[in-house]
């Protein structure tokens, strides 16, 4: 059912908090995972059980500190305790669904509450902007999402500029913000029984959201296609491997991309252990054969292995790019590679938790030319 939530005194954030508070107080969920404001001025996801603390909730803040799906996964494994309402963006929702398929999360005890996203900023950019008095950023973004970056505001994160899935209508509860005059109100779609329990009345289905989402998706898809085409050209330039090496040449092997990736989960990752601490003779042999050896060794192997292990499930949140200290466009490479390999398996990550991962969904009668 769809309901309309009016905004009083132009305070949209307070109205969104009101919706969340109603959901928590009604006992529909035992806790809400929602971004709370921190003393630093940014937000971090928190598991909230006290409705009074929702005064600090800020799910509208267009900033991307972490992909919350990872943390949500921890709370849903083994013996989950009570139903959690997870307030997240589309990319976090899709990461969560991939984690379910990877058996690192479960959605049975989760009520997914998606909030429309007009794009986000990296933490330092966001902090700079909100240091100015009364600068909230999101009213400008939602007022005209198509103009973001070109209307005097700072540039969105690279991944957001080419995000073709700003909304996630597959969630149980959808807070619909795009295409609404947020000073007046917004819509919430939720299951009928929940709406009944909360005493929310149905509203007319007609608003400008679909049209706005379509325009936004078209604009960002065009940008995505241009960027990924350029990235694929870069990967394929020069002798074999030269393009990839050039793109990752500045890598300092901090492994931030791996840590920030919401779906790169292996606790026994071979790059976290001593597997590639080779014997001294090995380094010397390589150095003699090649004339020199880049250190730390195995950097290309690190990125290629991650591409092979993760690109099929890459949902394009761009957390990897955001955390790279040397500005490597990691997320672009993952999307360029992931887009191709996902289409080989006709696979779209992030939607149906019952769907099998491509590498698991093998059939006897397929690719019969391979291996012959």
């Amino acid at each position: 059912m769809k309901t309309f939530v009016p905004v009083e005194n132009g305070d949209t954030l307070q109205a969104v908090r009101g919706v969340l508070r109603r959901i928590l107080e009604s006992g529909q969920v035992e806790a809400l995972m929602v971004p709370l404001r921190t003393p630093a001025g940014t937000v971090m996801p928190a598991l909230v059980t006290d409705p009074a603390l929702l005064d600090q909730a800020d799910p509208l803040a267009p900033v991307y500190p972490v992909n919350a799906a990872r943390a949500l996964g921890w709370m849903t494994q083994r013996e989950p305790r009570g139903r959690i309402g997870a307030v997240m963006r589309s990319c976090e929702m899709r990461a969560m669904i991939e984690l379910v398929k990877l058996k690192q999360a479960c959605v049975d005890c989760i009520t997914l509450i998606s909030v429309d996203c007009a794009g986000t900023y990296d933490v330092p950019v966001y902090l700079d902007a909100v240091a100015q008095p009364d600068n909230l950023l999101w009213p400008l973004l939602f007022d005209d999402p198509l103009a973001s970056g070109s209307n005097g505001g700072p540039a969105l994160r690279d991944a957001c500029q080419m995000c073709e899935r700003p909304v996630y209508d597959e969630a149980q509860v959808v807070v619909q913000l795009l295409g609404h005059d947020l000073a007046k109100g917004f819509s919430v779609v939720l299951p009928d029984e929940m709406a009944g329990a909360l005493n929310w009345a149905p509203a007319s289905d007609a608003d400008g959201r679909r049209a706005m989402v379509d325009k936004l998706v078209a604009q960002r898809t065009a940008r995505r296609d241009a960027v990924l085409c350029e990235t694929r050209d870069k990967l394929n330039s020069g002798r074999p491997g030269e393009g990839l090496q050039t793109l990752f040449a500045a890598c300092i092997r901090c492994h931030n991309c791996m840590t920030a990736c919401p779906i790169c989960y292996c606790k026994t990752c071979l790059f976290k252990g001593p597997v590639f601490d080779h014997d001294p003779i090995q380094y010397m042999t390589w150095a003699k054969r090649k004339g020199a050896l880049r250190l730390p060794s195995d950097t290309m192997l690190f990125h290629l292995t991650r591409l092979n292990h993760m690109a099929l499930s890459c949902i394009g949140c761009g957390a990897c790019t955001s955390v790279c200290p040397v500005d490597i466009p990691v997320g672009r490479v993952f999307r360029a590679v992931g887009g191709n390999v996902q289409s080989v398996f006709d696979y779209v990550p992030g939607f149906n938790p019952q769907e099998l991962l491509p590498l698991v969904a093998f059939q006897a009668e397929e690719w019969q030319e391979v291996g012959e």
């Binding site: 694929r232 990967l235 394929n236 330039s237 020069g238 002798r239 074999p240 491997g241 030269e242 393009g243 990839l244 090496q245 040449a249 071979l270 390589w286 054969r289 090649k290 004339g291 020199a292 050896l293 880049r294 195995d298 290309m300 192997l301 290629l304 292995t305 591409l307 092979n308 292990h309 690109a311 099929l312 490479v333 360029a336 590679v337 191709n340 390999v341 080989v344 398996f345 491509p358 590498l359 698991v360 969904a361 093998f362 059939q363 006897a364 397929e366 690719w367 019969q368 391979v370 291996g371 012959e372």
Partner: protein
Amino acid sequence: MSENGFEPKIVAFLCNWCTYVGADLAGTSRIQYPPNVRVIRLMCSGAVDQVYVLKALLDGADGVLIGGCHPGDCHYLEGNYKARRRVVALEDILKTTGLEPERVWLRWISASEGQRFAETVTEFTAKLKAMGPSPMRQDWAV
């Protein structure tokens, strides 16, 4: 020796139940094939993680051969189907990243196909000689 003196190095990951025995049969049958292949035995082609293939390629192997049981014959029932999907994905990723998928071969060779193993190695060696050495072999930054 080939004309330019280049002898390719092939790292072969062979499944314990079929291809490794096939390679053994090629040997005991005294079938001649190029000495360019270095065999690593695994229990199943489904146990070949992409990282094994990548490590070999980036460390200068000119080719990687993965050998498994014919579809339907896997000792573990479906390991080779997993290997097949993994290789399909790997080849596509190598292609997009500007590397050479032609340097990775997946072949089904049964325990009785010593001849087929020898032919596969002969054919792969000739192909790699034509392709030339892997550019990774001399690249200090890899």
